[in-house]
């Protein structure tokens, strides 16, 4: 029983820090609110789609920026998609990098684009690690017989 309470405390603290540090925004809360008994893995499913999508996009971006003649329209199209998907799940820091990234695309600034790609990759890996840790905590709570605290 004490184990469950401790895990729940950890969960609350961890989640709070993710919002405070800007890794997640209200949209993530919206996703959690959508989850119910009819679809108890909804958040994990959506976030998993985001992980798959992001890795593809980051690869496509790297390839596009390595071309002799960079097609900035194509690059922008990938960034637009990345911006959209990260915004849909509440991965705020990734979305913010994408905004800057799009500006550099418009300016056809290769250096700026390459820097943004690195930043986007960095922020993506960070939020992925944090979400995976969060999901692991959730599993631990459930396995210990507890329920996931609702965050407001």
């Amino acid at each position: 029983m004490a184990a469950v309470i401790q895990l729940q405390r950890q969960f609350i603290d961890y989640t709070t820090s993710l919002y405070k540090e800007g890794y997640l925004d209200d949209q993530f809360t919206q996703l959690q609110k959508l989850q119910d008994e009819s679809n108890p893995d909804f958040v994990v499913e959506v976030v998993s789609l985001f992980f798959e999508d992001s890795e593809k996009l980051l690869n496509n971006l790297a390839t596009a920026l390595q071309q002799k003649t960079v097609d900035y329209k194509q690059v922008d199209s990938h960034v637009h998609q990345f911006k959209g998907s990260s915004s849909s799940i509440g991965a705020q820091r990734v979305t913010n990098v994408c905004v800057h990234f799009r500006n550099f695309c418009e300016e056809k600034n290769l250096d700026g684009c390459l820097r943004c790609l690195q930043q986007a990759k960095h922020e993506y890996i960070l939020v992925r690690n944090k979400l995976e840790a969060l999901f692991r905590l959730e599993q631990q709570i459930l396995q210990a017989g507890g329920s996931i605290p609702m965050m407001e």
């Binding site: 949209q27 919206q30 996703l31 609110k33 959508l34 119910d36 679809n39 909804f42 499913e45 959506v46 789609l49 985001f50 999508d53 637009h80 998609q81 911006k83 959209g84 998907s85 915004s87 849909s88 799940i89």
Partner: protein
């Protein structure tokens, strides 16, 4: 009580056949999944399409009549929710095609977009979009849209007072 064929909206139960049918059009799988959940949580039946072309087919406007779910025998689409930015046929193109058609022009179309571009919004509203909503959508946005769906189902010609 068969819980798979009905869903609860507050204290009232909405039977399968009475649920408004929403067609969600978006090239992003993530957004389709999220919008589908948003609408099913609001007691709607949802069909998704990954392109404007596919949406038109489902609305009975394509060459393949077999995918037509909007015929007189089958369930009718009560609302179309489409993303603006899609490759090929944009949400605006889809909106135009719906509004210019002979048989589905009365179906309300909501355009959603991640970008707040006033000229884009104007253009869509002028073309007959019921509303233009910024992404990402929230449960509160969807709750407000329900009045459009019920409005067209049973109360044609009456003003939607909203909530």
């Amino acid at each position: 009580m068969d819980s798979t064929s009905s869903s609860t909206v507050g204290m009232k139960e909405v039977k399968e056949e009475e649920r408004p049918h929403v067609l969600v059009v978006d090239d992003s799988l993530i957004d389709r999944k999220i919008m589908e959940k948003l609408f099913t949580n609001s007691a709607c039946k949802v069909t998704t399409a990954e392109s404007g072309q596919k949406a038109l087919e489902l609305l009975g406007q394509g060459d393949n009549k077999h995918t037509n779910i909007n015929n007189h025998q089958g369930p009718k689409i009560n609302l179309v929710v489409t993303d603006y930015c899609m490759p090929g046929m944009t949400g605006y193109d889809l909106l135009k095609k719906v509004k210019e058609s002979s048989d589905i022009s009365e179906i309300p179309v909501i355009v959603v977009s991640s970008e707040n571009v006033p000229t884009r919004i104007e253009k869509c509203l002028e073309e007959g979009a019921q509303e233009f909503i910024l992404k990402p959508l929230k449960q509160s946005d969807v709750k407000k849209l329900r009045c459009h769906m019920q409005f067209t189902r049973a109360l044609k010609g009456r003003l939607c007072l909203g909530r």
